[in-house]
Amino acid sequence: MIDQQAYEQQVQARADEMLDAVAQQERQSAWSAHSILARSHDDQQVIDAVARSLAQVVPGAGDGGMGGPFHILPAMLLHCRWEAELPAQAADMICDFMLRGVLVRGNTENHWLMYYTGNLLAAERWREEAQFWNGQPPVAMQREATRWILGTIERTARIGHHEYDSPGYHIEHMMPLIGLYEHTTDKHLRAQVERVLTLKVADMALEFFKGSWAGSHSREGYRENTWTRVGPIRTLQYLYFGGEPFDPEVHLHGFAIPALLATYRPPAVLARMAWERKTPQLVKKTKAPRNIIRHADHYAGPVYKTTFMSESFALGSAQINLPGTSAGPIDLVSWDLTWSGAKHQAKITCNHPFLSPERFSAFLGPHPQNARRAVGDGKPYLQSPDRLFGASPFERIVQHDGAAIVAYRIPEQDEAPFANLFLPLSTDWVERSGWLLGDMGDFYVGVHPLAAYHWERIRQSRNDAIMVSDGDLIDGWLLRIDGPTPGIAIEAVEATAVDSFEVFCDRRTAAGLGLEAWSAKALVSLQTIAGDQIEMEFDGEHRVNGEVIDYASWPLYGAPEAEGELHTGRMRFGSGADLVDVDFGIDPQKPLMPMRVIG
């Protein structure tokens, strides 16, 4: 058990080290200008940083000439944290922006949280003004923002986080919440914010695997899901969990800099949980349904996550429960196998690169006839047939501990009637009886495509205008598995569980893979080397050793050191005397605030 005070001293030491590194950067933004005010006190640098940030065109801001969430939040966090020290010119710019600008909410949950947090803090600070930027008195925005933030916290506490477990966007939930914890004058809101921060850090800890975030993610960047260190959340993973030497290249991202100077520190038990797992453990989570707004005659179901955290690897997947045949959230990652290793060398994942334009118009405004170009012009990689991320309505997964079946039944007319499987280059793959077997040192893995496949190379780079010289985005093997019924069976086991890799190969190839009824009857089964039988009926039941998996019984949180039932607003993390209890004080009969953000 770690003492909270000692833990906070460790966090502070890491924060100071990180802040020193940030302060040395030449180019600062409103996110990172905290470091100037904390270290060098160069007023002009702060003014320049604020001016540059407010004028910057960034995603989420909408069209040019409007301020969006990525302008609003860092500006207000800077203003609130350094109200007394901020150069007057910088303070005036921010005040003018909030009182006279043209601001927009964006359309994702993190956008709205940043927007409403920044606006709430501004409305509190300039409450005496006759008019806010939106033509209403500041109190109108204060009330609107408070309702939405509290409503979203309640949804998270009852049915799970919507934009769940995203290495790219979790930081954009954490930072506004930390900003509210630090600066709001609303005591009830602050108390609820502290509770939901515990949930958000617990989410980080439960699937934290040696610097990586294992398993399914509502969103995992674009072309980043073969990386082991993904997204700006790395900064908070290091700040709160430590456990490894500081590396500015890995551990610093601008979006998290305000957290370094915050008083908020999570419960110490969560840091211990992130690194210490005495035995392999199963983490279950329920997350909110995807918000599919059209091309469907019913709503999406809850997301049920399963992540097996073993000593040397983590296998995580989710039941996404998408409605119909059009919805496929564009940056959702439904499963992966994660272990400790270099970028591109420690992930296995596969997907169906669903290309229908309706996957855009299922959650965005453009008509389907326009959606492909409207979205794809700005993000051309979303339409690549080699895509390795993004959901498909034609995917189903069943998982049991370190083994899983990932299966697809893709309609004949689909534009990409195949699946893409990513395998690392550095593994010495062995092919035997259809199984691809890898010795990862501490553990062994076997992958069996469910249909014919062809072995290809994949290399994608940011700098691809003329020629790809470095696969900094994706670099590995791409196995194209033929449709219409592609998929894989996968099993990973600790090296300590079998005598040798050779023995693993023998046992894995000898254990059953039931493909006879897959193509014709949509039934597939896998026997693990321990003898467990996993069965999937594609649009029916999933079984382990003959017993139906009851996904409806999934808790909000379920793990050896996490428990929480749906709709109660109560959770417990830790064990023994090392516990943190959270109670949101929720009335389960009260209707939930309707969800209005995409994803």
């Binding site: 069209d63 409007m66 008019q131 939106n134 091309h295 709503y299 326009n370 309707p594």
Partner: protein
Amino acid sequence: MAVGEVSEQDWIVGSTGVWAGDPQGEWRSHGPYPFAVEGIQRAESSLLVGTGHGLWEAPLDPVGRWTQLHDEALTEVLDVARDAEGAPVAAGSYGVSVSTTDEFGLRRWRSLTEDLSPDQRYTNVIRLAGPDLWLAATEAGVLISTNSGLHWESTELSGSPVRSLEKLDDQWWAGTDDRGLWCSHDGHAWKQVDCPAAAVFSVALSGNNLLVGGYDGVHWRNAQGVWKQSGPRALIRCLVMAGKIWVAGADPGGLWVSGDEGASWHRQGPFQRVTVICPPGGAA
């Protein structure tokens, strides 16, 4: 009247922001609000503007600040109307929404179609035909309400997304995404109209001339009932006929104007996309 103020003689266009002017002349931006405009309701003293960023009231003076009318429950607004009392009714991705005011006089919105299926809820167009009769063009077809939106039922036009809905010369016209053009006298019973466009995004009628905006440009049915294709082969979101002047909004493609009943068309103004066209004096 302030400089640049919107007058009754102005045409109004919804694009990236609101613009006022003349189809064959100059256009002026109506304030520094580059929202993606989807619906405009014109009134004597102001404009109601439905956008991808909510619902706004814009004063006629372009220097005036727009006032936010939406709250956290009203987001993307695809169309806007006014009820018998003049209160705004918004249609959008989360249904048909109306507002009440709280103790501070601030609008609180609720969707009247929240509990319907996603496709039934997603409303492209809302039309208020009388004090009680409301029609909604949804992704599941045309829905009808005879009690001001409190209860809704399906009509005979079901199973296809409906992207345009107009009452023209005492008849309802509906453009579907995949089954062409339909018409109805009462909003309940619908019959398919012979039309060369499978996807219909806009409809206009003038005398015996019927114009339909499709994915592949404007289709014109003349007095003899003969269809002709006219103008740029673009997705035509909106159409207005004012005498010999025909105006079409393409998305993408901008504003196209014909002064000779469709014989030739000219792209006008700075627009890349046009979603709404309001002729002088009237409503959208």
